[in-house]
């Protein structure tokens, strides 16, 4: 009996401490990443999907609410900020190539941002989604912190947007390279730009696994489309209404 009591005590401590959420996040990702490497980097084994599934199963089994988990998860989540700033480095290293492509990038970016927002909202509207879901879907291709800000401004649900953004990134990471092969798009700079516009940071992470060039262009497109989207999407949505 006392043994059980001790375990319960330990659990009371753990469930109130950020240590549990943080350690589990790193463990789940470590495991998911190993599975990904074992599977010869098959995009279907994307480590974000595996890690998220493992963590949800764990939280469900231990009856831990998301808010309690996020007490620890927030430390990892916070690093998205400095990681976004860090994208300046690969961008700087590819600057020579960017100079030759600036016109194509300048035209493709706003087109991609508009298509990303309008296609998602249009398809969901045709299939009967409610207004709040539609508004939360509009910034789905934009990098998470920016997308949540946009969702808040246009009247969506920021935390739902975060989930839709992550799912979009996973879809881009899983199917992107296959789609480019089918369309015979082989230039890594073009692939990278499309990946960054459509699938933000998760697409960028996948692009870095393909090549440094594709990663740098994806990072660039992600950052620039965050600018374009924060100006363009609220305006597009008000016009759609």
């Amino acid at each position: 009996m006392t043994h059980e009591y001790d375990l319960a005590q330990v659990w009371v401590y753990l469930s109130a401490s950020p240590l549990f959420g943080l350690t589990m996040t790193l463990l789940a990702y470590g495991l998911a990443y190993r599975v990904y490497v074992w599977g010869k980097s098959n995009p279907l084994l994307n480590p974000v999907v595996t890690a998220v599934a493992l963590l949800i199963a764990l939280l469900w089994l231990t009856h831990t609410p998301y808010q309690a988990y996020f007490e620890g998860g927030q430390f990892v989540h916070f690093l998205l900020g400095p990681a976004t700033v860090a994208l300046a480095l690969p961008l700087y290293r590819q600057f020579g190539k960017l100079k030759t492509l600036w016109l194509a990038v300048l035209i493709a970016l706003p087109v991609g941002v508009a298509v990303g927002g309008v296609s998602a909202v249009g398809i969901a509207w045709l299939l009967g989604a409610d207004t709040q879901t539609l508004l939360s879907l509009a910034p789905k291709s934009v990098t998470a912190p920016v997308a949540m800000g946009i969702a808040e401004r246009i009247g969506g649900i920021p935390s739902l947007t975060a989930v839709l953004v992550v799912t979009t990134g996973i879809i881009g990471a899983v199917f992107g390279t296959k789609l480019f092969d089918v369309l015979r798009i082989r230039d890594d700079s073009v692939r990278g730009i499309a990946m960054g516009v459509a699938a933000h940071g998760i697409g960028t992470a996948r692009a870095f696994q393909v090549s440094a060039e594709m990663g740098a262009f994806a990072g660039l497109a992600m950052a620039l489309s965050a600018f374009v989207a924060s100006v363009m999407l609220p305006w597009l949505v008000s016009w759609l209404r």
Binding site: Q74, V76, V85, V163, V166, G201
Partner: protein, 128 residues
């Protein structure tokens, strides 16, 4: 880890956070619709153009963060459990919008870029 490597990491992460801080403060002071980290990224990019030696300072921290960029999205992804209800009710429009919308966006962005490059090459031929 030897102390030189960890000191380099510390300098790099400090610099990244300082740029993010400047970005966040200027976004608020100037009332910009653009998020702080994105402004920080652009400021760091311009700083690198002016001073190449900064690249060595940020390198250790930047590559550590970027090599496991996927990890940073995990806590937000777990948030899906809060929205299981809404997603369950509207799974068809949400799935279709995400899947089809993302593929259309990937394809069109790439094709527009290729199209512009092709036009540029054609006009370069005309000029020559």
């Amino acid at each position: 880890m030897d102390s030189a490597v960890s000191a380099n990491f510390l300098n790099g992460i400090t610099l990244l956070l300082a740029y993010q801080l400047v970005g966040e403060v200027s976004a608020r002071l100037l009332n910009l619709p653009i998020p702080g980290p994105v402004i920080g990224m652009l400021l760091l990019f311009f700083s690198l153009l002016v001073r190449d030696s900064l690249a060595q300072v940020v390198e250790p921290a930047a590559s550590a963060l970027l090599s496991h960029l996927s990890l940073l999205f995990v806590p937000a992804g777990v948030g899906v459990m809060v929205h299981f209800g809404r997603i369950g009710e509207q799974w068809l429009p949400i799935t279709a919008a995400l899947l089809v919308g993302t593929l259309i966006t990937l394809a069109l962005t790439a094709l527009v870029m290729l199209g512009v490059q092709r036009l540029q090459r054609r006009s370069a031929h005309h000029d020559a």
